[in-house]
């Protein structure tokens, strides 16, 4: 991996982190509404994973989608504007935090019903296979989502039809306040792939390089026609499930322990210790991210609210 790639991964993670920290402030200030689920702590997952895709590979995820949106190449401006419900937002202010998508960048959303994106992912992959395209669909979901029927139906279908899907479970241990061991028959989610005859692996989601390398291999195999496979990526969310989570289900010491494995901090150490980057370079990246987020906030603030006469836009494709 060349130096440029390392720095790209680092800057993307930092940008996601800063954007969300700012988002949390704006939420407290009442400028962002609805449900907002922060990705803080999990940045290495979307960053490493999506860096390994080709442009023809589709990405689809759940409501915890800000990081994924950035990794898919959506400018911070449009993510921030969506959070503030502006017309310049990536979903024109209609979707909000949970419902971002950009089909031009092969990002197929932000789906807020747990597990709903999985069968849809199977369909995206079917479309590519049907048309003879070599795209791989990367479908992300939480470990909590593996307990809903949609997960099982989608995995089964993808195997039976040999669909080019990479199923990526982000195991951050909790589905809202329920620890994986309290909700899932097996805590090691990759075992569930066995039941569908799929190859699988478990990856350290706090290590962006590990995620990137594993994803590269997995995507290549799926592209080569192996059929669907599953990656379980172990990670942790440092913040509450969504804004306003009383967090009665875990101890702060546990959070602190995981914060010691902060994917950004760890990567910083790695880059400096292995002479991949200087501290100065990383500081500059930090400053650029702050600047980009600041500009995004200004852009979003200055952007227009949707006008009320556009309420009925896009209910249907055709005139009714």
């Amino acid at each position: 991996m060349d130096k440029q790639k390392y720095l790209e991964l680092y800057s993307q993670m930092v940008l996601i982190r800063r954007l969300e920290e700012r988002g949390a402030e704006l939420y407290q200030a009442g400028k962002i509404g609805g449900f907002m689920h922060l990705y803080i702590g999990q940045e290495a997952v979307c960053t490493g994973l999506i860096a390994a895709r080709q442009p023809q590979d589709r990405v689809i995820t759940a409501y915890r989608d800000h990081g994924v949106a950035i990794s898919c190449g959506i400018p911070a401006n449009q993510v921030m504007a969506e959070l503030m419900g502006k017309t310049t937002g990536i979903s024109k202010g209609r979707g909000g935090s949970m419902h971002m998508a950009d089909v031009t960048r092969n990002f197929w959303g932000g789906h807020a019903i747990v597990g709903a994106q999985l069968p849809v992912a199977a369909g995206l992959a079917l479309g590519d296979k049907y048309a003879g395209r070599d795209g791989v669909t990367i479908c992300m979901f939480g470990e909590g989502a593996t307990n809903i029927g949609y997960f099982h139906e989608a995995l089964n279908l993808s195997k039976v039809w040999t669909l080019p899907v990479l199923w990526v479970c982000e195991n951050n241990i909790y589905g809202m306040g329920t620890a994986v061991g309290r909700a899932s028959a097996v805590s090691e989610i990759q075992q569930k792939a066995e039941g569908y005859g799929m190859e699988h692996e478990r990856v350290d989601g706090m290590d962006v390089i590990a995620v990137y390398e594993a994803a590269q291999k997995a995507i290549a195999k799926v592209r080569a026609g192996s059929g669907p496979r599953m990656m379980e990526i172990l990670t942790y969310r440092f913040r509450g499930h969504s804004m306003g989570d009383p967090e009665r289900y875990r101890k702060q010491e546990e959070v602190k322990k995981w914060e010691e494995h902060d994917p950004i901090g760890a990567f910083h150490v790695y880059l400096v210790e292995n002479n991949k980057a200087t501290k100065k370079e990383l500081e500059d990246i930090e400053a650029r991210a702050m600047d980009e987020v600041q500009k995004a906030v200004e852009f979003a603030e200055a952007s227009p609210e949707p006008s009320l006469d556009t309420l009925f836009d896009n209910v249907y494709v055709e005139e009714v």
Binding site: G34, G149, L308, L311, V315
Partner: protein, 323 residues
Amino acid sequence: MARITMREAISQAMWEEMERDPKIFILGEEVGVWGGSYAVTKGFYDHFGAERVRDTPISEAAIIGAAIGSALTGLRPIAELMTINFAFSAMEHIVNEAAKLHYMFGGQFVLPLVIRAVGGGGRQLGATHSQTPDAVFAHFPGLKVVSPGTPADAKGLLKAAIRSNDPVLFIENATLYQLRGEVPEEDYVIPLGQSTVQRTGKDVTIVTYSKGLEISMKAAEELAKDGIEAEIVDLRSLRPLDMGPVIESFKKTNRAVIVEEGWKSYGVGAEVASRIYEQAFDYVDAPVVRVAQKEVPLPYNRALEQSALPQPADVVAAVREVL
């Protein structure tokens, strides 16, 4: 009488019933350790324990299916769906099992089951999380559908639902959880399937329920300033639907406006209007007008979303139209 919130009223109803009958238990996502994602079951887990306050995986079909099965054995489950939007993930079991088993097996199966689900828009949750699909569920014979508009009704109706031997869908509205009202101290139930007059008036009949009641009350205050006295009939139950107080009021006012938060097409208003025409045609002095949600999936943007939701001003305008 105590002045408590809707949230407290619902919580008290379950608490008191669970103290009374050990067969009653709660199951659902985050109902236990978390205390309910809307804090309705706060304190239940510590008091009643993990056997009776059961956190479930994210498995709506299994929540409702298992609730049905356990009810068939004589337990009295209260299944909480975190929001009514997730009821679609359990549709099979609500519609094809809960609503049908008693009838289809010639009365052998009895399911004393309550499904609690919160719905409604107005909180910028976007299209998937803001729905008011009450009418969809009220479509199915075999299911009772209840949706209160005041804390006192919430408590009395939920107790009745818990004591009922039929499956009951109890629909709450998240923006009403903080609504305060007088609630009797003593044990009481409000029978399911009884509409009631929440405000008396002689000029126009407003028929509504749940969130629509709050909207209609505000509208009625506005109208009163101009000397227009609206009578407000709260349906409280959508199935069985009690038209008695509606028709009685309509025969007095000869004009009706129906207010609901859900979409207008094929909605509660459509049903109530038809029944008014069927049961009181000779008393109609003006076409019945419906106030409801605009026919769009709700957008995230606050102003856009509010413009799609029925407001007191819409009710005022509708009343002026029928007068």
